[in-house]
């Protein structure tokens, strides 16, 4: 039980560091740590397939993509522009209002039963694969189309125009 609270504290701590770090590279590295704590959360929930996918896709693919883009931009200078103090206070105030609203609406629910794992092999690959390829077969195929179009779009957007447009 205390493991969950410790990991939850670490998640919140690293998430705050992500948005407050001055250097974008540090920010990305803190994001890696945040995603790692999320992986531990998935393992605690016995969602082993999601833990592995989170580890590979988020910490592997997405974060490498972020770092690579940042390396392309070469903005290691520390004089990154920050917003004015009024905007900062307004941003934190607005986010706090959102949090208070969500938590207050949670208070009226008052159901606080513990999360109990009824079926121990719920999050295993075997079980999830059966659900994915029976009920969710069409969304699965559509997501492959989504990935293909994203790849084409990324290549199209990131390539430089050789000649200026004539129109």
């Amino acid at each position: 039980m205390s493991t969950f609270y410790f990991i939850a504290f670490l998640s919140i701590f690293f998430a705050i560091l992500v948005i407050t770090a001055r250097n974008p590279v540090h920010s990305i590295l803190y994001l890696v740590l945040t995603f790692f704590t999320f992986t531990i959360h998935y393992i605690l929930l016995n969602a082993q397939f999601l833990a592995i996918v989170n580890f590979i896709v988020y910490m592997g693919a997405i974060l490498v993509l972020f770092l690579y883009t940042l390396m392309l931009m070469n903005l290691n200078k520390d004089n990154e522009p920050m917003k004015s103090n009024i905007v900062k206070i307004a941003a934190v105030f607005g986010g706090g209002c959102l949090l208070v609203t969500v938590v207050a609406s949670l208070k009226t629910m008052t159901v606080s039963e513990p999360v109990v794992l009824q079926n121990p092999d719920l999050g295993l690959v075997k079980n999830l694969g059966k659900v994915l390829f029976n009920e969710f077969l069409l969304p699965f195929e559509v997501s492959s189309l989504l990935l293909l179009s994203a790849m084409v779009g990324a290549v199209l957007l990131a390539t430089k125009d050789k000649q200026p447009k004539t129109i």
Binding site: A15, F38, F49, G94, G95, M109, E113, V115, L122, K160
Partner: protein, 109 residues
């Protein structure tokens, strides 16, 4: 693995919702606070992850595997979104030579 799953036996569902709400709020604050386009993007990733964790917790709570399949789809969508978004950011950087989103105020009417 048995000891791991026993560790969560007594965590109330409310605390999972609370944790997700806090992480989501941090993401929202990050979007509002920063001017660097990449960090805004990372805050969006943080929000997506908070929702993923909440879906998994609900899935385990109800004993229904559909929630975890949704998380899988969200992860595929996040990968596509990151590829497109970073391509757009690279294009913006080529045109304006900065990542400051305040440079982009020409998009305003």
């Amino acid at each position: 693995m048995e000891s791991f799953t026993n560790a969560i036996q007594s965590v109330p569902l409310n605390h999972y919702i609370l944790l997700s709400a806090i992480i989501f709020t941090i993401g929202v604050i990050g979007v509002l606070l920063r001017r660097n386009a990449i960090i805004i993007f990372m805050s969006v990733e943080l929000m997506l992850n908070a929702v993923n964790l909440l879906l998994t917790a609900f899935s385990v709570y109800r004993g229904d595997a559909a929630g975890q399949v949704f998380v899988f789809f969200i992860m595929a969508l996040a990968a596509a979104e990151v590829a497109i978004g970073l391509a757009i950011i690279v294009m913006i950087y080529r045109n304006t030579n900065s990542l400051d989103i305040n440079v982009l105020n020409r998009l305003k009417w």
